[in-house]
Symmetry: C2
Subunit: 345 residues, 2 copies
């Protein structure tokens, strides 16, 4: 498996910043890699190379990390049931990436051609389907249908969020509530179910399972807002993609909501015209305004609010073994948000 | 739900030919329609109209019919578990249709715009995903993971078959065995699992379940060969699509294999060039040659061979209640194949 060249908030195990949490997961991630590699043989011979290509470029493995961390018991080696759950959520995630890249017309992901560029978008649509079907196939190998139920339900919500986002592109009659609802569906849902499965499969009590799921959900919302912030305040080299793609593609994200609120009425109208594609987007000008008007700070506050809710969900269970590492994961994200802070803000 | 305007082999309940079998299923199909209609509310509000659009255009409901017929007990009203299984296989089928139409760039299906034309291909990719996720969500509502397991496994095989077919378009280094393998995966698999679920959920003995599944598989192969035959020998008005699309899109189907075998070497080379897109396809000429060289009869024989294997699978269980109706289903397909027979053949 190739290393992930990106350095986004949740960097891979070999990146120093994240090492402090991910170092604990080395045997778990190795077991996950073995299980994922073994899945390739389950596909029809002609499509094994394609499946391998997608699984190999999978990157950060945040969702598997959440499965492992939310079932954490110091000193316990990887448990098959948890490794399988980690593979399930990762395969669902990979399937959505394959389909996202088709829709975005993306050429490159993590410094390699996307599946749709490598094999054609027709094959990529079906490959995403096959990866998703395989995820559910693994999920159906548990003694009860609970994992299938949770994962299929989440997937439907993830797709729902992505569809709504797609239909809204280039429209400006959306509210912050609409924005939050979409990221809750498209991103936080899979974070939530990862933590749910980790807690549930490790036999945690019902209230702990529910709180773990709530932790995952708020972490997921925070992570997506961070990702949307990085689209404006990141460095292209570090986040591994072109800046300003959300503005260019007409996607109203939190930094743009905050900017719009702080602009004069005339400037706000111009910005809305850019989002609707009625005039070319003025990225440099918008970035300058964002810096001047304190957008980074307002968005960082919104992320902090979600991390606070994540921590609050687990606060009643200070003795629950996963809590310490999950809290450190929040700190990692805080550090990454801070690293986007523009000079003078 | 709108009526299906097509008159393909398995026409809807209101078509006289199929009435003799489908009349038995009226209460079952009504229960299925109610269950499918109730699913719409489970999607996010913004995508309910899209989901409804796809479910409403679903057409022939062959796979649900197979669930009901292979669990048939004279006089028994529809059973919830079977209605749900029928909905699961139909939703998987609808999801693959939505994705197929994107890849084919199809504008119209059953006299309505395809989902990708109506909502854009990006939304259609995700809508197919959401329909599939919903199918698995319903499948996870059984007490054991068996339905999830069977359906996710089938779906992976269906996608595998479609991918292989997609990758092969415009290539001529494929054998009849390759052709049979693809239709086994892309079509027969879902017919097979429909019969498997009907038999299994109605409590049939293990050998009957296995034989029912084998029946479904061979019927599915026969059905796909019929469909490929109709692409050359059908009437556009009756089959509801343009003739010769397989030749035009470089898809080597059984009628073309048979034709190639019977052409002179020089003519065969020209045909292969047409399939590879190296020269425009000469549909009228190929149709004339097919009629002259007895292609209909050879393909009809291949269909009959599959129907024979389907019947043989169930022959050891003459007293099994579903057998009589399943055999009549085979006769319906025979009648449809006969209706494609060219004058003089």
């Amino acid at each position: 498996m190739s290393a992930d060249p990106s350095t986004s908030a949740f960097a891979p195990a070999n990146k120093p910043l994240f090492g402090e949490v991910f170092n604990h997961l080395k045997p778990h991630m190795a077991a996950l890699d073995r299980l994922l590699a073994a899945q390739i043989a389950e596909f029809e011979p002609e499509i094994r190379a394609m499946a391998d290509y997608c699984i190999d470029t999978s990157g950060k493995r945040i969702r598997p990390a959440l499965v492992f961390l939310s079932s954490w018991q110091e000193g316990r080696p990887p448990v098959d049931e948890l490794v399988k759950a980690a593979a399930v959520v990762e395969l669902v995630h990979l399937a959505t990436l394959v389909h996202d890249d088709i829709m975005d017309g993306a050429d490159v992901r993590r410094n390699r051609k996307t599946a749709s560029r490598a094999y054609g978008s027709a094959a990529a649509v079906l490959l995403g389907d096959a990866l998703f079907a395989h995820a559910l196939h693994l999920a159906s190998q548990y003694p009860t249908p609970e994992v299938c139920h949770a994962v299929s339900s989440s997937t439907r919500r993830v797709c729902g969020g992505e569809i709504i986002q797609t239909l809204r592109r280039g429209t400006t009659d959306v509210s912050r509530d609409d924005y939050y609802r979409v990221i809750d569906l498209k991103t936080a849902e899979l974070f939530r179910v990862s933590c749910f499965l980790g807690a549930r499969l490790s036999g945690a009590a019902a209230d702990v399972v529910e709180s773990s799921a709530a932790f995952g959900r708020h972490l997921g919302i925070a992570y997506q807002i961070y990702d949307d912030l990085a689209d404006f305040f990141g460095e292209e080299k570090r986040i591994g993609k072109t800046l300003g793609t959300d503005l260019a593609s007409g996607k109203l994200t939190l930094p743009l909501f905050v900017l719009a609120d702080r602009l004069s009425a005339a400037d706000r109208d111009l910005l809305m015209e850019e989002i609707r594609g009625e005039r070319p987007s003025q990225l440099d000008e918008r970035l300058r305004q964002m810096r001047e008007l304190g957008v980074w700070g307002a968005v960082a506050d919104a992320i902090e609010a979600e991390l606070g809710q994540a921590a609050a969900a687990l606060a009643p269970f200070p003795g629950h073994p996963p809590v310490a590492l999950l809290m450190r994961l929040c700190d990692v994200l805080r550090g990454q948000v801070a690293s986007l802070r523009p000079a003078g803000a």
